[in-house]
Symmetry: C2
Subunit: 244 residues, 2 copies
């Protein structure tokens, strides 16, 4: 039946792929890497595990990505791109004041993390795996500097007189801290709500996040409302002399 020969030909094709096929295979690798991280955390995130998952030879994986760190950087980059593109839609669709836009952007931050908490942790919580060498992807990496975007919108709101404080970058860091922390808290609450009987909640100190008289959804609404009130509140202005 000639099966043996067909298999051999296939292997040969794999070795000399077209650029399109190589790109496609690379996408498969990124997807698998993302899944691996989501299922097993950074500990399970290894090129060996990846090769096993994709039924590839580990040496062949090295044709696509040089190190665990490189793989991480590539996957993270896709998340930042997705986040930025979604933010562009938010900006395009927004109506109302610049402070309203900020609220829409913060709301999107929560939604992005709710949609894909693994992506959120790779972007904001878990440090990239270290590596001795800087690979080709990292060499040409252009940082997204996602905080600059918020700072720009805050600056706009300051110029328009909606926000009275004058240090846009500092306020941007403050806002980021708040929604970063609130996203983590909300996620802990939600994982409790979704699986109320899961093991180890006491030693994980999670019980306190699941025994409150408010839900994770209400918590998010509360946080966004606080931000809305706070951004334009003249009582909340911090003078430079208070922190310099």
């Amino acid at each position: 039946m000639g099966n043996q020969k067909i298999v051999k030909t296939k292997i040969k094709q794999t070795r000399s792929r077209s650029p399109e096929k190589k790109a496609k295979q690379f996408e498969r690798i990124l997807d698998a890497g993302k899944q691996l991280f989501q299922q097993k955390g950074r500990e399970g995130f290894s090129l060996r595990g990846l090769a096993k998952m994709l039924n590839m030879n580990q040496n062949n994986v090295y044709n696509y990505v040089e190190s665990k760190r490189e793989l991480w950087v590539c996957i993270r980059k896709k998340f930042y791109e997705q986040y930025r593109n979604e933010n562009k839609v938010v900006i395009k669709n927004h109506e109302g004041s610049t402070v309203d836009l900020l609220l829409d952007l913060f709301d999107h931050f929560f939604k992005f993390a709710e949609e894909d908490y693994g992506a959120f942790t790779m972007m904001h919580i878990i440090p990239s795996p270290p590596s001795d060498k800087i690979g080709p992807f990292e060499k040409q990496y252009k940082p997204f500097n996602f905080l600059d975007g918020t700072t720009r919108v805050i600056k706009e709101a300051i110029n328009e007189g909606e926000i009275k404080e004058n240090n846009a970058a500092l306020l941007s860091f403050f806002m980021f801290s708040l929604i970063l922390g609130a996203t983590i808290v909300e996620n802990t609450m939600r994982s409790f709500e979704e699986n109320i009987n899961y093991k180890g909640t006491e030693a994980d100190e999670k019980i306190q996040f699941g025994t409150q008289p408010f839900t994770s959804k209400e918590f998010r609404k509360y946080v966004l409302r606080k931000i809305q009130l706070g951004l334009t509140d003249p009582n909340l202005i911090v003078d430079e002399s208070d922190y310099k």
Copy 2:
């Protein structure tokens, strides 16, 4: 010279240690586990690595701790105890209003994380390693529910009329989110300040945290000042109808 015999006796003593010696050895294990986590993250945090570090037989480690998760829970417990004890001192030494006390407690949260960021991440960021079985330490674990402490102080400030909002638990979660996020941001800023040339800052998206016209210290002061202004600000009160 009888050396051979002495060595043998020593080994025998090791195998049937007194409770005091066992407790001391257990403390050594917890210290080593903490170091291991701080040096290598949760990935390097293994009972095998621990045995190697302490020059112990891995089977002997199992006489002290049943699993990686148990070790984690024990180490974390010490951090919570330390944090609680330090807070007791803060409460004892405090002068002024209840809102002032809250600020002292939040300031201590920052300081604790600055002192030992590894401890902070084990307590608040990195999930405990999973395990199929619940070991003896976890079985008798009493949760600290550290947020309840803040909630109680907030309730006190509400009762005394210093804080006008009425949902103490919700405000406590909000405050925790803010200082949790700010601690992470501050740490990223500080690690940049301390080692300005370290590799990989671009692909780690850390550059933005190290290129601002304010320092991590100023950022902390700003956050605490915002909290101080916000806690007693009548403009910031969120009504239940806004989030229910």
